[in-house]
């Protein structure tokens, strides 16, 4: 991979020491994010997405967590960096937005205090400047009467407003990379859309790279440039958003898409089965126990190597190995619904977006 990427993650492995042994949450994951680009990490809850993103700036508590691999941000390895140096990057160059705005703010301080905190830690600004900038940002993220609300406490804001505040808090340091971890999950649908739109606008405005974590493919469809599909700590598939929505290669991705009502939603109950025990992952493909196409080869060895199935789209599935018949997987059960809602899909390559 070229080293001029904004963020490059290579072979990221995060484990936790627990009473019941070592738990591997993220197991050798690679991905990268470029400036101005939105990369989505998709997967079920518990698939290691959040841990992966939080490992980037080492927000994960270590111990019990242990992070290995390489995370290069603008060419510098974050994982090898001393904590103090990393602190200058956190909140300043790389900002985070978390899933639950309710809990992510300290209830004891005013939102203004919390927004300016990052600024005052990283930059030598006076109280007035900080306040002015924060009020500007609050205004920008859509909080009415921002200068008055600067001194309000989090509990005086609604959920959507809190997330806006969180965004303001993230942006206050003019970050180059924004890591948004399910920022809309806890919000209701209309607010979700507003927040997504806001993020979209802001990305352009601030020219940031955005790493977006979600389990909601609907959201992905709206904002993603590229997608990384994770399952049980491993990457199953990656590629451009169009490629993956048009022709998902991995059975897991297919099943995820099937859950979307826009795609016909046949498996309403979700994917049958549960995630494997992270203490003791199965041999072979992590998804094999739940995969309807699994065969002997799927259940042996390591997770299959990634295989390029189309330009930029790579999949980790034995069925795409040379000599295997990918059509077993790429069967016609999958019938993505087109933008107009018509179900034609021979070969299933219609566009969901654009």
């Amino acid at each position: 991979m070229p080293s001029d990427q904004l963020l490059e993650v290579e072979d990221l492995t995060t484990t936790f020491g627990t009473d019941d042994g070592t738990l591997t949450a993220v197991d050798g994951v690679d991905f990268d994010v470029d400036t101005g680009e939105t990369v989505c990490i998709v997967g079920e809850s518990g698939s290691g997405k959040t841990v992966a993103t939080e490992s980037i700036t080492r927000i994960i508590k270590t111990p019990p967590g242990e992070i290995e691999g390489t995370v290069r941000y603008k060419g510098r390895d974050l994982l090898a960096m001393p904590e103090s140096e990393l602190r200058d990057i956190r909140g300043n160059e790389i900002a985070h937005i978390f899933q639950n705005p309710q809990e992510a703010m300290n209830h004891c301080y005013t939102v203004g205090w919390q927004i300016t905190e990052a600024l005052q830690i990283h930059q030598d600004v006076s109280d007035e400047e900080a306040r002015a900038k924060a009020v500007d940002l609050m205004d920008r993220v859509g909080i009415a009467n921002a200068s008055a609300r600067f001194d309000d406490y989090p509990h005086e804001f609604s959920g959507g407003q809190k997330q806006r505040v969180m965004i303001a808090m993230a942006l206050v340091g003019d970050p180059d990379l924004l890591i948004a971890d399910e920022p809309t999950t806890a919000l209701d649908v209309t607010v979700q859309a507003q927040i997504l739109r806001l993020l979209d606008e802001l990305q352009e405005e601030f020219d940031m790279g955005v790493l977006f974590v979600t389990h909601d493919l609907g959201v992905v469809a709206e904002i993603a440039d590229r997608i990384v599909v994770m399952y049980a700590g491993k990457v199953m598939e990656r590629g451009g958003v169009l490629d993956i929505f048009d022709h998902p290669a991995h059975p897991y991705t297919q099943q995820l898409l099937e859950c979307l009502p826009e795609f016909g939603g046949t498996t309403v109950g979700g994917i049958p089965g549960t995630l494997p025990d992270p203490h003791d992952p199965p041999d072979g493909c992590r998804f094999a126990p739940r995969c309807e196409y699994a065969e002997g080869a799927c259940r042996a060895g390591e997770q299959p190597e990634e295989i390029e199935v189309s330009p930029g789209q790579r999949v980790s599935c034995v069925h795409y190995r040379p000599g295997m018949d990918p059509s077993v997987v790429r069967n016609d059960n999958f019938e993505p619904v087109g933008g107009d809602g018509a179900a034609d899909g021979e070969g299933g390559v219609s566009r969901a977006d654009d």
Binding site: E54, T57, I59, S84, R87, D88, I89, R90, G91, N92, A95, H96, F98, Q99, N100, E103, A104, M105, N106, H107, C108, Y109, Q114, E117, A118, I121, H122, Y153, H155, M166, M169
Partner: protein, 324 residues
């Protein structure tokens, strides 16, 4: 309701509570026979006088012949005008006795309170930050030890060891030494230590458990993601919310100890403070002094609870004044 109105309401309510408790005390005591009258009667009988008349005179002298409600109003008026009467067991005005005793009580209570307030949450948060390390276990062990060992028992054991066997602290509390002198520090060290161990345990536990919750909270993650240093994170993001539940425990703990165990500690160490004053007033049936000290402790309890409420409200912005 604004903060001002809330405070006013709380203060008024505190006044009501103190009045109720004062009234109960008054009723309890007025139901008991008055030792002064009994004494006068006996005296008169021995002198060959008329005991009934003597009793009548004694009652008159003390205003006991008046109807209960008149006495009650006089009493309440006395309470609030600080006219608390004459202590017959000490031959001095009650207020003077209380203030005098307070002087000694304050000498150990102030360092004790300060140490508890500072050390309790600090050690608790530290313990939580190093959860399950040997430091945490040591702190937890200490907390449980201090919490469980009866203060008076601990006191006499320490007095035995350091006073009698090792002779490093004086066995007899010396009231003559200056407040800020090495001697005073030496003689107060053990009582303060005993009280601190007693009060700090609960605080440490609460601080530890509460801050454990907060240090794993999402907002701590937010803070970390903002690039906040661990020290600052603990100081601002963990300590502050921890102080909310801790403040409740703190006032409760200090009050409970102040109203209960400090009496024992004063008895054990011979400190002529409020606890011993009360106890001796009870022993010698010095009605006025009993009332006076009870009033004082009631006042402390009520004010303590008031402070607890107010501090709680101030510390936790989520509490709205209307709810309480």
């Amino acid at each position: 309701m604004g903060f001002g109105r809330y405070v006013t309401a709380r203060v008024l309510w505190a006044g009501v509570v103190s009045l109720v408790i004062t009234t109960i005390t008054f009723l309890l005591l007025s139901a008991a026979p008055n030792p002064d009258v009994q004494q006068a009667t006996t005296q008169a009988a021995l002198q060959g006088g008329d005991p009934a008349a003597a009793a009548e005179r004694a009652r008159e002298l003390r205003g006991l012949d008046e109807p209960l409600y008149v006495r009650y109003f006089d009493f309440i008026q006395g309470v609030y005008t600080l006219d608390w009467g004459w202590s017959s067991s000490r031959s001095q005005p009650v207020l003077e006795a209380v203030v005098g005793a307070l002087y000694y009580t304050a000498q150990y209570s102030i360092p004790w309170t300060i140490l508890t307030v500072i050390l309790g949450p600090l050690v608790g948060v530290y313990s939580a930050a190093n959860m399950y390390s040997w430091r945490d276990h040591a702190a937890t062990g200490f907390a449980f030890f201090g919490y469980a060992i009866p203060n008076f028992f601990f006191g006499i054991i320490l007095l035995l060891i350091f006073g009698v066997w090792l002779e490093v602290i004086p066995v007899v509390y010396n009231t003559d030494v200056a407040v800020f002198s090495v001697e005073n520090v030496v003689q107060l060290a053990i009582p303060v230590f005993v009280l601190v161990t007693g009060s700090i345990g609960a605080l440490m536990r609460v601080s530890r458990n509460e801050s454990a919750e907060f240090q794993n909270s999402d907002f701590m993650k937010t803070a970390k993601a903002k690039g906040v240093s661990p020290l600052r994170a603990y100081a601002y993001h963990v300590m502050r919310p921890t102080l909310v539940p801790v403040s409740t425990t703190l006032v409760g703990q200090l009050l409970a100890l102040f109203l209960g165990s400090s009496l024992l500690v004063e008895v054990v160490f011979g400190i002529p403070g409020l606890g011993r004053l009360t106890f001796e007033a009870l022993l010698s049936q010095d009605t006025n002094l009993v009332l006076g000290t009870t009033l004082f402790f009631t006042f402390v309890a009520v004010v303590g609870n008031l402070i607890e409420d107010l501090v709680f409200t101030v510390l936790d912005p989520r509490i709205s004044y209307d709810d309480r």
